[in-house]
């Protein structure tokens, strides 16, 4: 109701009467909080990330300190173990074949794997979003051509080209980021383009044009907020793929170089020692599996929260 009073007081009363609406983001956040699996995953992931950051503080050992007195010994509590580390120090996860403390190495591995995950995903995000948005928005022939290019690349087992790149140009962490990012951008581009296309055809875009809103403002105000949702979901689901890709490369010996270590390297080494020192495989594998599970649950949770349909 428009009040008969004039002046500031009326406006205050008005504003007090205005109900705050339930935006879609608020709705989504509520749904996400209700998703127990996703919330538990967020907590768990946060814990792992924290441990990775605080790695040097959490263990007395340095990650590359080799101690030939405690080569390949298991933690005290390991069942049926013949070689227990009882050097007085605490090797919670045991040691590897060079006597290096496994616990601290797993945490340092976490650092590398998570960083690769985030940075490579960022690379793919930037390339993919730019490419997809341009294709989707320009539409027509340009879009057809750009998407045909993506289709061509999509049909190649890209990992092979990554391997070739690693072979030719020698391994470096930087190249790793770029190479893996270059693998994942294709799907990101497709998703962004698909979303942009579908938003572009929606009637509220037409309404904005009819109102006289300029193209740039339309993109800023209408297209981007509506595209952000699925992109976030996909980013969360890309990170585990990237971590897996990195570990795959490390397993083949083409990943991270010494002295750095990642979960992939640890798992690869551990797989070789499976009969004699299974803990070398178990701990990094479990950590990686948990991390991947968490990202997947969070991604699924975000997807359901932002676009609930009958599952």
């Amino acid at each position: 109701m428009v009040t008969p009073f004039s002046g500031g007081k009326a406006e205050l009363i008005e504003q007090a009467q205005e109900v705050q609406g339930r935006s879609l983001w608020v709705d989504a956040r509520r749904r996400l909080f209700r998703n127990k699996a996703a919330m538990a995953s967020i907590v768990l992931l946060g814990a792992i990330a924290l441990m990775a950051i605080l790695a040097p503080l959490l263990s007395a050992y340095s990650f590359d300190a080799q101690d030939y007195n405690v080569v390949s010994c298991s933690p005290d509590w390991w069942p049926d173990s013949t070689v227990i580390c009882n050097a007085g120090g605490t090797h919670w996860f045991g040691t590897d074949y060079l006597g290096r403390d496994l616990f601290v190495r797993v945490l340092y591995g976490a650092r590398v794997s998570l960083t690769v995950g985030l940075v490579a995903t960022l690379v793919s995000l930037l390339i993919g979003v730019a490419y997809g948005a341009v294709a989707g928005f320009l539409g027509g022939r340009i879009d057809e051509f750009m998407m045909r290019f993506v289709d061509v690349l999509y049909s190649l087992p890209f990992i092979f080209f990554v391997i070739i790149l690693m072979v030719i140009f020698h391994r470096s962490l930087f190249l790793l980021f770029i190479a893996i990012g270059a693998v994942e951008w294709l799907t990101m581009a497709r998703i962004v383009r698909g979303q942009t296309l579908s938003i572009k055809q929606k009637e509220f875009i037409e309404a904005a044009r009819a109102a006289g809103v300029g193209t740039f403002s339309i993109i800023r105000r209408h297209v981007i907020p509506n595209v952000v949702g699925p992109v976030i979901v996909y980013v969360t689901l890309t990170i585990p793929s990237v971590i897996l890709a990195e570990s795959f490369l490390s397993f083949l010996g083409l990943g991270v170089q010494e002295p750095l270590t990642s979960w992939g390297v640890l798992i690869s080494d551990g797989a070789n020692q499976l009969e004699t020192a299974p803990w070398m495989l178990v701990f990094p594998a479990v950590f990686m599996a948990i991390t991947l599970f968490c990202f997947n649950f969070i991604g699924d949770g975000l997807r359901d929260a932002l676009d609930p349909k009958d599952r």
Partner: protein, 314 residues
């Protein structure tokens, strides 16, 4: 239908062309590769490479000869192995990889479709959650973890099941004996089973809620006919689209599997070639793989048109 098929085939050709050309130029740019004048190689290999690549001729002629060779399946000599040409190496490795790969694909498709359909029919009940959890595990646990674990269980320790002691060999090809290929095929198939079952489940659920399935039910068709005749074909369409990426996934997985189980397939040649910097071998394998994937995508496209009449009249 014919025009659709022709169009698809015509579309595949440029892709192949691009790969072949890319490979050609990448080889020439690689430092330490066959074309790096600073390298030093044993004289026999040097001689082979010179002869094979006609290094005294201008580049565009080299390119044409390269294309011509490819058409005759001649991929040049191995960079590191003086006795063999790349084609020979691929020819020896192909049957091994093919047997493992095809078996894994077939199992993955059958099992994945079955599990996915089951999960969709029993949506949100116990069996649905069970299948989906297994699928999640299958996707997140990498092959190079499942392989050693399974080897440990079945190979080293042996499994005691219903009084039977099951021990499987931990490696070696053994001419493709059944016992030797069970583990590698299983490891290779697991991630694909997981992905396919998720895919089919989602698609089947959507189809089961569609209007034409409602019509089929309204006609009084029993449930199994509704699923078999009306729902299944439509639900399989996304699976057909996935076939290309599936083959790519199996190829990628084979690298690990052949390494761990010591199988003399193309994948192992590829990895060793990569580590040894055997450029020509690596490039040759990539071309072979890429061709395979492109052909697979083509087959998938044609299969799609068979399943969905709407696409044929494009």
């Amino acid at each position: 239908m014919l025009s659709y098929a022709i169009r698809r085939i015509l579309g595949a050709v440029p892709t192949l062309f691009i790969i072949v050309t890319l490979t050609f130029f990448m080889m020439r740019l690689a430092p330490g590769g066959p074309f790096d004048s600073a390298r030093r190689l044993p004289p026999e290999i040097e001689h082979n490479i010179k002869a094979a690549y006609n290094l005294d001729k201008p580049v565009y002629q080299q390119y044409l000869i390269y294309l011509d060779d490819l058409a005759h399946f001649d991929l040049g000599p191995s960079f590191k192995n003086k006795d063999f040409s790349v084609s020979q190496l691929i020819a020896t490795g192909l049957p091994v990889s093919a047997e493992i790969g095809i078996s894994a694909m077939i199992i993955a498709i059958l099992l994945g479709t079955g599990l996915g359909t089951l999960a969709a029919l029993k949506q949100n009940k116990a069996s649905d959650y069970g299948v989906m959890s297994l699928a999640m595990a299958g996707i997140t646990i990498p092959t190079f973890v499942t392989a050693p674990v399974l080897t440990l269980i079945f190979g080293v320790y042996g499994l005691n099941l219903f009084g039977y002691e099951i021990t499987l060999p931990v490696g070696g090809w053994n001419g493709g004996a059944f016992h030797n290929i069970i583990l590698p095929v299983t490891v290779l198939a697991l991630p694909q089973i997981a992905i396919i079952s998720r895919l089919v489940r989602g698609s089947m659920i959507e189809v089961l809620h569609s209007n034409y399935v409602r019509t089929a039910r309204a006609k009084g068709l029993p449930n199994h006919l509704v699923v078999w005749r009306h729902a299944l074909r439509a639900a399989l369409l996304p699976l057909v689209s996935y076939l290309g990426p599936a083959v790519a996934g199996v190829l990628t997985g084979s690298l690990v599997v052949e390494q761990i189980f010591g199988l003399p397939g193309i994948g192992r040649y590829f990895v060793q070639g990569a580590l040894n910097r055997d450029y020509t071998l690596v490039m040759g394998v990539v071309i072979a793989y890429a061709t395979l994937v492109i052909v697979m995508n083509l087959v998938a496209d044609l299969l799609y048109a068979v399943l969905d009449p709407r696409v044929r009249f494009d």
